[in-house]
Every structure is written in C-alpha cells, then in structure tokens.
Symmetry: C2
DNA sequence: CGTTGTTTTGACACTAGTCAATGGGTGTGG
DNA sequence: CCACACCCATTGACTAGTGTCAAAACAACG
C-alpha cells in the first residue's frame, strides 16, 4: 500500500515486457491491486527455496537473481539467471511447489503476484490469461536457447554465447548491449555452462587478448559484437544468433 | 472424421498426461471435435520447420521426434526429443511461429490441436486452460532438468543422466524403466549432450563393460539403476535424481 | 589494516575431440 | 537369394582442450 504511491505498473519502465503487456488501463489498475510491489532483497538473500509451496510468482523489478539446486553435500548446480522483467517461478505452476532455489545476486527488488488472485483475474481478464500464456511460451523458447549454448562442445563458444545472451537480454531492457556488469561469480557462470571457474577466467582473458571484449572485474565491454558472434558460427548455429543480437 | 471411429481421447491410454487430463467427459467430447487425430509420419518426415507459422500444437501419439535447428551450412544442432504424450510447439505460442524443426525418428503418429479453436475452447472450459498452463509449466520444469544434464562437465555423467531421463519418461508412460530402445542415432545424442558421437559410443561400451547396462544396437537394458544414478552423485545433484527415477 | 572471498595464473594430468579405418545392419537391385 | 551400397556404430591413435590442484594477486568489507 505504501509502495503503490511510489510506483505503479503504469509508470513501470518494464511493463511492456511484464504481465501488464496488452492490457488496457482499467485492466492494469485491476491487476495492480493484487500485486505486492518492490520487495527489497539484499545480496545472497533467498527469494524462495526448492520445495517451498508456490503461492506467488515473482517478477524481477531491479537487480538480478540466480536459480540453482543443491545436493545433500551442499554442492550447488546453477540453472540460470534472472534479469529485470523476467518472471520467476513459472515452472512451479505445474507441481505447486518451487523446483529450484533462487537468491539475489545483488541488491534487488521484486513484484509479487499472489497466485490465487492471479488465477481469478485471468478468468476475468482474458488478455491477462493470454499474456501469461505468452510469458510461459517465451520462457520455454528462452530455455531452449540456453540449451543451444550448453549443447556446444567448446568452452570458447559457450562463453561467447553466454555473453551474447546477456547482451540481448540487456538490450531488450533498453540498456547497452555492449557494456554491462556480470552480477554473478565466475564460478556461477562456469557451473551453469558446464565448465570450471578457471576456464571461465581463461576464456575471458583470451577474448580480451583478442581485443573482442574488455574485462575489468565484473564489468564487460564488448568491442566487436560481430567477432563475438563469429566465434560460434563454425560450430553452431548462425541463424539462431540473429535473434540473440 | 474417419479416425474418430478408431480412437477417441476417452480411449487413449495417454489421456491422463495429455490435454484432456482433469476434464469431465462432456468437456473431453467437446475438445475432441477440434482434434485431428492419428496423422501418420514416416521416419525422417518433417512435422514442421523452423519459422513455419504455428497454427496448431501437436501431441505425440506414438513413436518419437527430434527437435533441432540448422545453420546455413546445414550443420544441425539437436535440441531435444519428444516421446508419446508430449506436446510439441509450445514455445511457438509466444512468437506465433515455430522456433525449431521437428522430424520423426521412426514411424510415428500425432494428434493435431488447431490453435484458433483451442483458444476458443480455453475460454469456454476453464479447466482446459488450467491444464494447458500445467503443461506449459511442466515443459519448463522438464527443460530445466535437461539443463542440469548439460551443466555437467563429465561425459560419463551426461550419458548416465540422459539414460535416466529416458528411463523416467518411459516409466511415466507405463513402459519399462529399464528396457527401451533409443530411437535416435548416437550422433543425435552426442549433438544434444555437447559430445561427439564417438564419445557416446565409448560411454555406452564403458557402461556395459561395468555391467551397469547392456547395449545391442539401439536396445538399452539397464542392469543397475542405482549404480547408474550413483555415477552422477559426486559431480551433481542426487536429490534431483529422485524425481528422475 | 587485516580478513575473507574471488579471480587469475601456472603446471600437469587426463578427458574428450578429431581423423581414419573397420565392422555390422539394412535395404535395394540384379 | 546374393552382392553391393549406404548408413551407422565401434575402435584405435593421436592431439587439443579442460579439469584439477596449488599459489598468488586482487578486491571488498568490516
């Protein structure tokens, strides 16, 4: 209630990518009533844990998140990363409980979408249901793209594809597609790509040695997008990359 | 019309996994009217191609399919495989066109779900919409599991996970979880897992040398499911595997 | 300023890719 | 029914690429 004063879905820069997309103003206002906005999380804070009952979906308002699972020895397997406008918890609609842990990679905020009331609203507002379907379908397409990355055999191509995927996602947010910060550790990237953290480090230094990118800590600047794309071409799928960039 | 005599959704062994799940008899009969059933495809035949306009979803009735993309040099990247009861084309709801080629790996049949009329029906039958959401969400969860396979660094673990994933999927169909045929070539498996076809071959012979499986051509028999699972434990996620088996 | 966690770098071992040759199965046509 | 061709799978030899381990450099934080 307090937060609704500071931000509304109508104001939100991300609304075109988020649930309100395609709704008219009165419908957005209806939707807005059920949304709990701008919950703040600190670095490392857990948004939800695997097997938690899924009572809400969450949209990334700002910052970024890491999705992962752990075995009983505590070894983690990173499954992916969430950037602003992306909806977290979609896989839980099926089972009713979350399949993965999600933690904040930096100070971040989320909008919470209580499921029970979202379901009601979807029946009232067909275009909301339609947008939810689109988001689910988009999520499926996005993970398929992640599969193309991981299906590659070479570390170099995986690294290039990873950077290009981030570039594309930042671009769709209206940010630069050549300059951005990695909010995750090398280890998380490596774990996600099926590589060691040392390999990530080496691939990044190799790319900057070749003047394709510059790296300063977590700050990435892509000097030559075409070259970066060309790394992937011989071994994988160029036509696919058009949609990445 | 002719086919509706031979098979109905009510008869179908797969209906509990498919779109009719959760619908009452009269609703299933309504759904059935729009479904074109048992279209037959021969080995290698294309069900749909990338960028085709998506006018229908397809459910695998029998056989199996391969999902892949190609670059302009004709090099293929296999993205995954579809077994009976699984719905193909879900990622196309977002863009309205298919993101991948799909071909039959063997003589197979599909049920076709025309989208325009499916959307109408979803508004009429809320539980159909609900089931469609569940299927979309399940698809997301399933691909996430594929990501855990590919996130592994060792070929041995990837191979074991691949076999366990197939085992689980066949089990959910009511088939044996220890004896099944690989309908795809070694090359397709390797391409999917980010390995060479020679590596697939070597991993399979290694597993049979260790008396964990037997291999005769494409016929796989798992001798020791626990051993197969234990291959993955040290490097990845045991708790995750419970759901796979 | 010291502690802690992260990243980089080097040395080495070993896994998996590549290339090439062989073997086996299936299907076609004589 | 056999011979041949084709595709797929297997195996071996070799090499390139990665993982592992360990140490050092670096950054962030209190």
């Amino acid at each position: 209630m307090i937060n609704t004063i500071t931000t509304t879905c109508l104001d939100c820069r991300l609304s075109d990518l988020c649930l309100p997309h395609g709704l008219d103003i009165s419908e957005i206002e209806t939707l807005e009533i059920i949304i709990r906005k701008n919950r703040l999380l600190q670095t490392g804070e857990i948004l939800y844990a695997k097997n938690d009952k899924c009572l809400s979906l969450f949209a990334v308002k700002s910052g970024s998140f890491r999705r992962f699972i752990t075995n009983e020895q505590g070894v983690e397997q990173t499954m992916g990363f969430y950037l602003p406008s992306e909806i977290m918890g979609l896989d839980a609609l099926f089972e009713g409980k979350f399949g993965y842990h999600v933690t904040a990679l930096e100070t971040s905020s989320v909008c919470e979408l209580p499921l029970s009331r979202l379901n009601e609203l979807c029946i009232q507002i067909p275009s909301l249901q339609h947008q939810l379907n689109r988001i689910l379908s988009k999520e499926i397409g996005d993970i398929h793209q992640q599969l193309t990355i991981l299906g590659n055999t070479s570390a170099k191509a995986k690294m290039a594809m990873f950077l290009l995927m981030l570039s594309r996602r930042y671009a769709s947010l209206g940010y630069s597609n050549t300059t951005f910060n990695l909010s995750m550790r090398r280890q998380d990237i490596g774990n996600f790509l099926g590589l060691s953290n040392e390999s990530i480090s080496r691939q990044l230094t190799a790319l900057s040695r070749d003047k394709i990118i510059t790296v300063q800590q977590r700050a990435i600047h892509i000097l030559d997008l075409n070259l970066l794309q060309s790394i992937i071409v011989p071994e994988s799928i160029k036509c696919e990359m058009h949609s990445l960039c």
